[in-house]
């Protein structure tokens, strides 16, 4: 037997847990496109634990039997022993009742206990597979899926699956079993009373469905309104400085008020229906009891039933209402889980990067001759971003890539690292096609310093060591010294052990750049790509970075992408890229003499400069 207000408790449990995990937003109402397929694939994750699951089912059945048997014995006790004043029998049946009740409770605990481990083990595996798959997804995937969106999707979806697997599956099973069991037992005990009770059931189901329909509609509307309120809030808060400067606070507040009022209306509608389920089923539960008492009374006087049966029935009635109330909750949760699972599987099903060819070369070290032979590339086939590009970089040379924004400079760099696969032509390193080289070896030999370098929330030491995991502390510090980062690192509160905060907001741009350079020095790659490595710092800081960069470039084939022409002067070759094509090439002085596109770029930078 369970407590009367299980539904109260459940709604509490959920709200209490919703707070930290989902930010208190209302339940999402959504459906999977192919629920059966998602379900099938989720079940695969549970299969390794099938014996545990069998045990869970066993315990659920036991608990159902106890839930049915307890009240039945109660009726027997009243009719047979209390009515016949049999004290010894009463004691015996009481002990039997106690045993059955406690067995039921123990079974409940056991099934939840086992299920906790099963569900979490399955989820752990799902998370692991997901993470490992993310590690091999093609780079283009991340172009179309921004981090924030991806993160909120993953966390919400996995949490939805978690809720369903760890709680709802067992409650669904036990609810259905208990309800079926109660109905059957009722018919066995007394046909007439059972028939009367059965009339109440469709009434309840109809109410539940009626409410659910409006609830779904209401929440959909609420979600829409919340969405627009959120964008109003986000825009006005992130743009607040401008709003203030242009004294537009009043109109912004007006827009907010309107949107806020719409949310209020939608929320009142949605929640009025959503929360109605409890009071209504509560009262229907009462109605159930009343019907049994009334009809039972009449039947008992006719001699068609006994007081004990009525007491049993009333208890059954109360127990019958609880699972019924939970069913619609469980239904929604399972729907949400399946929709979430579908999205998670979508990621897992995204084809990974092209794997290495079976006969791919290992490349533990390289000279650094890089060649492009008539390379074509486009993110989609119709729109080539790189057209007929040929270039040759000899080992140790510095190649500057120059051109307007969007000309394709960064794409060139991404092709060398094989972040993207070319459509046509050939890229070779030391004469070997890069598609024939083991991808890991290839990437290990290429160092990247980007415009906005990513630092992990870890210590400075760990961040530099990311370049070479087996480096000793001394080697890390040596790399930092070469990158001219040692000095400022030592001035940080805990030196090399200082933990960088998320996105390293406790460092300046220039300092972050120096750490990235140190990291690249430690990795000791044969080929180096500097993608706008100094464009986020002001020109004076840049000069300081420059000497560290020069040291890094020493003896390596370097591709330098920069918009500041001053960094390009010393390159062995300057390649001018425009609309995905190399339009001019040569040294800085040669190109100036040509008076072509480069000359124009150059002159517009320093136009009218009297010297």
């Amino acid at each position: 037997m369970s407590l009367q207000s299980d539904r109260d408790r459940q709604s509490f449990d959920q709200s209490a847990r919703l707070v930290p995990r989902q930010g208190g937003r209302p339940v999402r109402i959504e459906k999977a496109r192919k629920p059966l397929q998602a379900l099938y694939r989720l079940i695969i994750y549970l299969l390794p634990h099938r014996w545990s699951l069998v045990l869970v089912i066993l315990f659920v059945v036991l608990s159902t039997i106890a839930g049915l048997g307890g009240p039945y014995l109660m009726g027997v006790a009243v009719d047979r022993y209390i009515a016949s004043k049999n004290l010894a029998g009463l004691a015996q049946i009481s002990v039997a009742m106690l045993v059955i009740f406690l067995m039921g409770n123990a079974s409940d605990a056991a099934s939840s206990w086992i299920m906790a481990r099963v569900s979490q083990a399955a989820l752990k595996r799902l998370r692991k597979e997901l993470f490992e798959h993310i590690q091999v997804l093609p780079m283009s995937f991340f172009d179309t899926h921004p981090v924030g969106e991806l993160m909120s999707r993953l966390t919400n979806d996995i949490e939805a699956i978690n809720q369903a697997v760890s709680q709802n599956v067992v409650s669904l099973l036990s609810s259905v079993l208990l309800m079926a069991g109660i109905l059957i037992t009722m018919f066995i005990i007394n046909l007439w009373l059972a028939l009367a009770s059965v009339v109440v059931v469709p009434l309840m189901l109809w109410f539940a469905e009626w409410i659910a329909r409006y609830t779904r509609k209401g929440f959909r509307q609420l979600q829409k309104q919340l969405g627009s309120l959120n964008s109003v809030m986000e825009e006005s808060i992130s743009g607040q400085r401008v709003i203030k400067a242009f004294r537009r606070n009043q109109s912004v507040i007006e827009a907010f008020r309107q949107s806020n009022q719409e949310v209020y209306k939608a929320a009142v509608f949605a929640n009025s229906y959503a929360l109605l389920l409890m009071p209504i089923t509560n009262q229907l539960g009462n109605l159930f009891v009343i019907a049994i008492a009334g009809l039972g009374g009449w039947l008992a006087i006719q001699g068609l039933t006994t007081v004990g049966d009525i007491i049993t029935f009333i208890t059954y009635a109360r127990n019958f209402v609880n699972p019924l109330r939970q069913l619609s909750n469980i239904y929604n949760a399972i729907q949400a889980a399946l929709a979430g699972a579908e999205r998670v599987f979508e990621i897992i099903d995204t084809p990974p990067e092209i794997p290495d060819a079976p006969n791919a070369y290992a490349m533990p070290s390289l000279e650094g001759d890089v060649r492009f032979d008539q390379v074509y590339f486009g993110y989609n086939a119709e729109k080539p971003v790189i057209k007929n590009m040929s270039l040759e970089a000899k080992a140790g040379q510095t190649i500057a890539l120059v051109g307007p924004t969007g000309a394709g400079k960064t794409t060139v760099a991404n092709l060398i690292t094989r972040f993207y696969e070319i459509n046509k032509g050939r890229i070779t390193i030391d004469g070997k096609d890069i598609r024939q080289i083991k991808k890991d070896d290839l990437r290990r030999q290429i160092g990247l310093v980007l415009q906005d370098n990513f630092l992990f929330s870890a210590t400075v030491m760990e961040n530099i060591r990311y370049g070479r995991l087996d480096a000793t502390d001394e080697e890390v510090m040596e790399a930092a010294r070469l990158a001219e980062a040692d000095h400022f690192i030592r001035q940080l509160p805990q030196g090399y052990q200082t933990v960088l905060s998320e996105r390293a907001s406790n460092l300046s741009q220039g300092q972050r750049q120096l750490l990235a350079i140190a990291r690249a020095i430690l990795a000791d790659p044969g080929i180096l790509i500097l993608d706008e490595a100094t464009s986020n710092v002001d020109t004076r800081t840049e000069i300081r970075l420059q000497s560290a960069l020069l040291r890094l470039m020493e003896g390596r084939t370097s591709f330098v992408i920069a918009h500041r022409l001053s960094t390009i002067r010393d390159a062995d070759q300057v390649l001018v890229i425009r609309d995905g094509e190399i339009v001019e090439r040569g040294t800085h002085t040669e190109l100036l003499q040509q008076q072509g596109f480069y000359y124009q770029l150059y002159m517009s930078q320093f136009r009218g400069e009297p010297i």
Binding site: S15, I82, S94, F131, N260, N286, T539, T589, L592, S604
Partner: protein, 582 residues
């Protein structure tokens, strides 16, 4: 605790509805309690005495009670929802108004993300507390007290016998509840770690790939995944025992009633109907205990949220007009004076952002400001419209200390183009008209032309009616900057502040804009911050800033000769190659 109390003032306007909700709830509880008693009557007076009249009467009475009860319950439900949502709406509005009143200094200390969380989640959490309190909160104690009274009323000895059981249940609930939040907190911590790892892995994907750290990352993830899973299993297993243990208590009670009560019934002490009623009451007494236990969780969450909400609501805007603040007269000949100005963002910061700034600028001048990042250029600009107040010294606008002036009247005559372009969703036209919504079409076009934006705007799909998506994703950086400049020009300001706002505009266009400014801002004042020497070169005066000080002021040629910092910046941008090449 205290914070929840403070926020209760938001419920006050709805006290009538709240009271009505509680009255309805009380009625519901009372009739809920009456039902077992009436069932008992059916058994004792009806069935056992064979009196059909009693059965029928009681049945009809119960039916009537149940129907009115349902109406009351629905009423309570709707009122609670209304009050809860009204409170949430009012809280959101209060927070939003407060945030709108914040000045730059306040905003620096808060992150947009945090503020949004407070506006959405924290208000929702509090709303839930209000709504649940009205819907269930009072139901629990009422039910419990009511059941206890009825129990004692039905049979005093049996009721007394139940007391140790009730007490034990209470202890068990307190035990579980007191552990719930801290336990979930430990799980949440592990989950946060796991999520941070995932987030950094995705955000830093280029790096992870370039350094081939797949296995390393997977290993780290596996460790966190394992830790989180184990922790979560432990907590879930602990929580899984709560409801069976409590149910066991109820069951023990029921068996005790059947046995002890049955024994008494055999002796003739109690009737069968009383036994049935007793079992019902026992259930209704224990369940409120559990509800209250869970309410404690909601309360704890709401208390944390209330604290965060209060933090915002009690923050005073740093900059407020003095009670006797005067409006600025029309600035026909604007004049700005900095007198020994120093500024730091917060008082315990060791190095001030600006120090010892003395400066006088008059109308008709175009002033360029140059210096490395962190030199204080933006701060200097932000002091003029009083986005921040000086820490020391004085800033005067046409002879009056800005702190004595009404800020709105200053802002009416100053236009600013910030470094980071912010556009709003709406048409291009609405964005340009942002500072002067009543401006005519001709004025809008004139401003756009001066900002060199007219041509590209005409080339947009719907020209001036083109909708700017959120944060202007459908425009290039240079286009956004030019719209922001047009927006400022349309205000016909007496003072125009441009904060490095042409960085994404090509040099030719930049010089056209500068030429337009000459006529547009004739006799007025323009201050512009630049990174490139080429953008400040032609200014009437160039202010060179270095580590919060004005290091030099003068014209280009003059500074080239006298200012080492200017020379250094010049060299870094032009390099030696320029001299060779040109």
């Amino acid at each position: 605790m205290k914070d929840i109390g403070e926020l209760l003032s938001f419920v006050k306007p709805y006290w009538k509805k709240s009271l009505l909700a509680l009255i309805l709830l009380t009625l519901v509880v009372i009739s809920d309690l009456a039902i077992p008693r009436l069932v008992q009557r059916v058994i004792d007076q009806g069935i056992l005495k064979g009196d059909m009249q009693v059965v029928i009467h009681t049945f009809l009475l119960m039916l009537a009670i149940s129907v009115t009860n349902m109406i009351f319950a629905i009423g309570n439900n709707n009122l609670s929802v209304q009050v809860g949502e009204s409170v949430a709406r009012d809280l959101r509005e209060a927070l939003f108004l407060k945030i709108q009143s914040f000045s730059y200094g306040n905003l620096d200390r808060l992150q947009t993300g945090q503020l949004l969380v407070r506006l959405s989640s924290d208000t929702t959490v509090f709303q839930r507390l209000v709504q649940i309190s009205l819907r269930i909160g009072t139901r629990a104690p009422l039910l419990m007290i009511g059941s206890l009274i009825f129990m004692f009323n039905t049979d005093r000895n049996l009721a007394l016998a139940m007391m140790p059981l009730l007490f034990l249940t209470l202890v068990i609930i307190v035990f579980y509840v007191s552990r719930t939040s801290p336990l979930y907190m430990t799980v949440q911590k592990k989950l946060d770690k796991l999520n941070t790892l995932l987030q950094e892995n995705i955000a830093g994907v280029r790096l992870v790939r370039a350094f081939v750290r797949r296995d390393y990352e997977s290993q780290r993830f596996e460790v966190q995944n394992e830790e989180f899973t184990e922790r979560n299993i432990k907590v879930m297993q602990f929580m899984a025992t709560m409801s069976p243990v409590l149910n066991a208590m109820v069951n023990i009670g029921i068996v005790a009633i059947i046995w002890g009560g049955g024994w008494q019934a055999i002796q003739g002490g109690v009737t069968t109907g009383q036994l049935a009623a007793f079992i019902n009451y026992l259930q209704t007494t224990l369940s409120p205990l559990m509800i209250m236990g869970n309410l404690a969780n909601v309360y704890a969450a709401a208390s944390a949220s209330a604290q965060r909400i209060q933090e915002i609501l009690t923050t005073q805007p740093e900059i407020q007009d003095l009670p006797d603040a005067q409006p600025v007269p029309e600035l026909i000949h604007p004049k700005i004076e900095f007198e020994r100005v120093a500024f730091h963002y917060n008082s315990n910061y060791e190095t001030p952002v600006l120090r010892d700034v003395n400066l006088e600028i008059r109308g008709g001048q175009k002033i360029g400001i140059l210096g490395s990042t962190g030199a204080g250029k933006t701060t200097l600009l932000n002091l003029i419209p009083r986005f921040y107040d000086v820490t020391q010294g004085e800033l005067k606008l046409n002879g009056a200390d800005v702190r004595q002036l009404k800020q709105d009247s200053i802002l009416e005559q100053i236009a600013i183009v910030p470094q980071e372009t912010v556009l709003f969703s709406g048409s291009v036209r609405d964005n340009i008209r942002y500072g002067r919504p009543q401006a005519s079409e001709d004025e809008v076009i004139a401003a756009a032309k001066a900002a060199q934006a007219h041509e590209f705007i005409l080339n947009l799909p719907q020209g001036y009616d083109t909708h700017i998506e959120e944060r202007g994703v459908n425009l290039s950086g240079g286009q956004k900057q030019r719209i922001a400049i047009a927006r400022a020009l349309l205000m016909r300001p007496a003072i125009l502040l441009l904060d490095d706002c042409t960085s994404a505009v090509d040099l030719e266009t930049e010089s056209k804009i500068q030429a337009e400014l000459e006529t547009w801002m004739r006799d007025k004042m323009v201050l512009f911050v630049g990174q490139r020497i080429s953008s400040v070169m032609n200014a009437d005066q160039i202010i060179v800033m270095d580590q919060g000080r004005i290091s030099a002021i003068g014209k280009h040629q003059q500074l080239l000769k006298t200012s080492p910092i200017y020379q250094e910046i010049y060299a870094s941008q032009m390099g030696n190659g320029v001299k060779e090449g040109v």
